[in-house]
Every structure is written in C-alpha cells, then in structure tokens.
C-alpha cells in the first residue's frame, strides 16, 4: 500500500444524540480511489464530510478522536478551514453549478483564492475543463449559463470547478447517482484518469461502480466501519459475514 494521506483514528461523531460514526479508524491511501459503501443512513456521507469539515455547517455536531490530513489534525483549533477545503475538494450528489456562466463557475475557486489575471484564469479554466473531459463540449459557449448544460455535463463542470483550485484530494458523494448511464461511465473513466494526480474518495451505493473503479473499499454499517481493504479482495472473499451479506444483496 502507498502512504496514507488521510487517516482517521477512533473517530466518533454525534448529531445531537444520534451517534452517527462509531470508533472509525481508517487510512486512505494517496493516489488511489477509495470507495465508501454501505446501506443508506450508515454514515458514509457523514464520514466523507468530516474530511473537509463540511459538517461544520450543521449545528450540534460533536466529534472526538483523531483525523489527519498529511499528518495534520483536521479538527485542530487553529486549522485554516478555507485552506483545508482548497486542498480537499468536493463534488456533491446533485450537480450544483452556480447560476453564472460556465467560465465563471470554473473561475470561481481561483478568484476566491486571489487569482485576478485574465491570462492565468483563462489557462486554469481550460486546463480544468480539459481535466474534467468536458472542454470539447463547452469550449464554444464558455460565456453561456452553466444551468443550460445537461445533468451529466453539469456534474463534470462541477468536477472541473473543483479541479480549478488544484486540490490534492477529491471527495465525491454519490456524484453519479443522479445521472444517466452514459454520463456515469464518463465520470467513472474520468475518476480513473484523475487518480494519477489526485486521491479520490467516493461514496457509492452502486457496488458494480465500487468494483469497477475503486482500489480500496470501506464497508460501513450503522456508523461502524465493518471492513476495509483491497476492493478485489473484499468483493471476492470478504473477511466479515456482514460484508458478504451486504455485497451479495442480502440486505441494504
């Protein structure tokens, strides 16, 4: 296994009284695709959102244990959340482009982080759109509203928007579940390409997808991490009975 880039140790999380993550310990390897699977409500999104502190938006969340990014505590009191989120980008379940032009969507992040030069922005926008495999489809209408794109294009635009801030890790929360099969396979191919330069963590309820693209898989159940390891191995000979029951479709 390569070095781990994100590492959770005895991580617990509560939404008020609801104990949503229970003693989760997990090392996410760099430049690999890690899939989080498990039945709905088991805490996959919750875990994913602890990684870039998107849970900060929700009141009454309590977190204990340790969670590090490149050895640095993510929940340390002095942590610069803005810088953290710049490094750990996120693509959401439903495509959420801003109501602006395609260009402005991609340029949003770089502008936020202080890049003003038109030449630089032009370059970043093109690079990011190429990186997200959507450049050819939109290069002639960069000034058109992003909301005019199809769902699959919007989602790739959101990936481009995330890439534009040059992150290190990309979190994807069921980012293909709202898309048609063709768009889905485009995004899967894209993820496989991106893993050369990025670490990717995906949440998916689609087990074929986990098998197709991920290197490691983490199986969650009721807030607990049941099993974590090499995807191929987990799907061929799961160590845990509950994992086997889930991946063979006996529950969830």
């Amino acid at each position: 296994m390569p070095e781990s880039i994100l590492s959770a140790k005895h991580l617990d999380l509560w939404y008020g009284e609801n104990h949503a993550l229970k003693d989760v310990s997990l090392d996410i390897p760099a430049n690999r695709i890690t899939a989080l699977i498990g039945p709905s409500g088991c805490g996959k999104s919750t875990f994913l959102r602890t990684l870039n502190r998107m849970n900060d938006l929700i009141p009454n969340v309590k977190i204990t244990g340790s969670l590090t990014y490149r050895g640095e505590e993510i929940y340390a009191p002095g942590q610069d959340v803005t810088a953290l989120r710049k490094n750990i980008g996120m693509v959401f379940q439903k495509p959420n482009p801003f109501p602006m032009s395609i260009y402005d969507n991609v340029a949003y992040g770089p502008r936020t982080h202080g890049i003003r030069s038109r030449i630089k922005l032009d370059r970043i926008v093109e690079e990011s759109l190429r990186g997200a495999a959507i450049w050819d489809e939109v290069k002639d209408r960069l000034k058109k509203p992003a909301l005019g794109l199809s769902g699959g294009q919007q989602q790739r635009l959101c990936i481009a928007r995330a890439l534009a801030v040059k992150p290190d890790v990309l979190l994807m929360d069921e980012s293909t579940s709202a898309l048609d099969p063709i768009s889905t396979s485009k995004i899967e191919e894209l993820a496989l390409e991106l893993k050369q330069n990025y670490t990717i963590v995906i949440v998916t309820h689609n087990m074929q997808q986990a098998v197709r693209i991920s290197d490691c898989t983490a199986f969650f159940l009721l807030g607990e991490l049941i099993e974590f390891g090499n995807t191929e191995k987990m799907f061929s000979q799961p160590a845990e009975e509950r994992t086997e029951a889930y991946i063979t479709g006996r529950f969830g």
């Binding site: 998107m54 938006l57 009141p59 810088a83 989120r85 959401f92 959420n96 936020t112 959101c158």
Partner: protein, 298 residues
C-alpha cells in the same frame, strides 16, 4: 349513480369554477383600469409646468407643488438609504449567521406582526421618539426615520424570504471550494436573491409614497416654498446644505393631496397630485427593476 352523470357534474363544476375565476379577474382588472383612468382623466388637465415647478403663492394666487415633490423625493431617498442596508444586513445575519433558531423564529414572528400594524401607530412612535425625545421636531429627517421603522419589517421579511430560496447546494458548493462565509454570501447568495431586494425596495417605496398619517405628524403640513440647495451650495457646503434640507419641514405629496381635498376642497389640484403620485410610483418601480437587472448581471 351512473358514471356519466358523475362526469357531467364534474364538468359543470369545472365550468362554474372557471367562470368564477374569470369573473374575479375581470372585475379586478376593470376596477384597476377605471381607477387609473379616472384619476388621469380628472388630474391630467390640471397638470402644468407652473404646478410642477413652483411653490404655492398666496399673493399671486397660484398653486404649485414643487415643495411637496421635493419633500416626497427626499423622504423616499433618505428612508431607502437607511432602511435598505439595515434591513438587508439584518436579514443576512438572521438567515446566514444566527444559530439560535428559536430567537430567529421569535424575531420573524415579531416582524410579521409589525408589518401589519396601522401606520398611525408608527406616527405616534415617531412623534414621541424622534420629534420629541430626540428633539428633531417636525422635519424630513424625523419623518424618514419613522418611515424606516415602519418599512424595516417589510424589507427584512422580503429579503429573508429571498435568501431562503437560494438553494443550500450553492452555499455548500462555494464553501467546498474554500470560500469564506462572507465571500460565499457576497458572490453566490446575494446575486441569486437580487429579485428579493428589488421586491423589498419596491414595497418599501410603495409604502413611503403612499404614506400620509406618519408624514402629517412627523414632517408637517406646510405647503410653503422650501429651501433647496443650489449646485453651488452643494459643492461649497455639502454637509451644511444637506443638513439644512433634512431639517426642513413641510407637506409631502400625499399630505398636500389630503390638504387640498379635505381642507380646501380643491379637487382639481388633488387629482393632479394623485396623477403625479401615480407617475412617480411607476417610474420608481421601473427604476428598481432596471437597477436589479443591472446589479444581477454585474
């Protein structure tokens, strides 16, 4: 019952409902057209350059509403300049920053209630607080401050409602890219809720233009000529001349409309003033809509 009779009955109901809806729409439109038409019909003949550009002169026996026009515009501008930042700021705080849901709920309930209070009560508050306690007397600034209090709930609520319609996913998207909270609000949330500000602004201006009770008691009833700073005054002593302007007292358009109609029974002038008020409202609404579109695009 046979199915055919049932469906026939349903169709009859359908037709009846549709006729009723048409009728209410038609009556509403007819009333509106009649009202506007009647005001214009009675008011336009009395409109003249003299009426619009001079003050009333008892010596010459001429009628002019320039001071009232000035007062109205000044009160509108001053009120909006104060109430917009205040109301929009409070709405942003309440929807984007405040974490105590119960407090926010209580404030929302209170503003809801306040926006339904008859304006004469605000007039009372204005007289007690601004005119008397703060020694502002009957002045444009006392009137504008009272109107700020009166329109604040409206602006606050309409801004809040429009902020709430901005999808949470926009906020998450921006924050997820490492945007700070205020940056996110400024670049993503506010542009998407521009319609709400425009609506709030139009509603507030509408209330200000149409208000008479508050202004009678806080700005005064004089229809005499007003100080108006000349360009040189404004350039040489901007603060002093604006202060002078703010401390003026006098009737606004609605108040002078009341005075002409009620106290002098001069309905020709009253209808002319009404026409001017109508035109003013239309112009302001168009301006606000235009400004909103401009702001949204930039």
């Amino acid at each position: 019952m046979k199915p055919t009779s049932l469906s026939r009955r349903r169709r009859a109901w359908d037709l009846g409902a549709r006729l009723l809806l048409y009728a209410s729409a038609a009556i509403t439109c007819a009333l509106l057209v009649f009202l506007i038409g009647y005001i214009c019909f009675r008011g336009i003949p009395g409109l003249s350059v003299e009426l619009l550009t001079t003050a009333e002169s008892i010596l010459k026996g001429t009628v002019g509403i320039l001071p009232a026009l000035q007062n109205t515009l000044f009160v509108i501008v001053l009120t909006i300049l104060i109430v917009l930042p205040l109301g929009v700021g409070a709405a942003i705080y309440l929807t984007e920053y405040a974490t105590n849901r119960r407090l926010v709920g209580a404030i929302e309930f209170a503003t809801e209630t306040l926006s339904g209070i008859p304006s004469i009560l605000y007039a009372l508050v204005g007289v007690i607080v601004f005119c008397t306690a703060l020694h502002l007397q009957k002045t444009l600034v006392a009137g504008a401050l009272t109107l700020v209090i009166m329109t604040l709930p409206t602006v606050l609520r309409s801004t809040q409602e429009s902020l709430k319609t901005v999808p949470q996913s926009y906020r998450e998207g921006a924050l997820g890219l490492g945007s700070g909270k205020w940056h996110m609000i400024r670049t993503v949330v506010l542009p998407s809720s521009m319609d709400g500000f425009v609506t709030g602004c139009i509603l507030a201006v509408g209330r200000v233009v149409g208000e008479s009770a508050v202004l009678m008691y806080t700005v005064g009833l004089s229809t005499a000529a007003q100080y108006f700073p000349s360009i040189t005054d404004l350039a040489m002593h901007p603060v002093a001349s604006l202060l002078h302007l703010m401390k003026d007292s006098g009737a606004t358009l609605t108040v002078s409309l009341y005075l002409y109609a009620k106290e002098r029974a001069d309905f020709a002038v009253a209808f002319s003033i009404a026409t001017v008020l109508l035109a003013l409202t239309v112009v302001i609404n168009l301006l606000a809509a235009w400004a909103g579109r401009k702001l949204k695009r930039s």
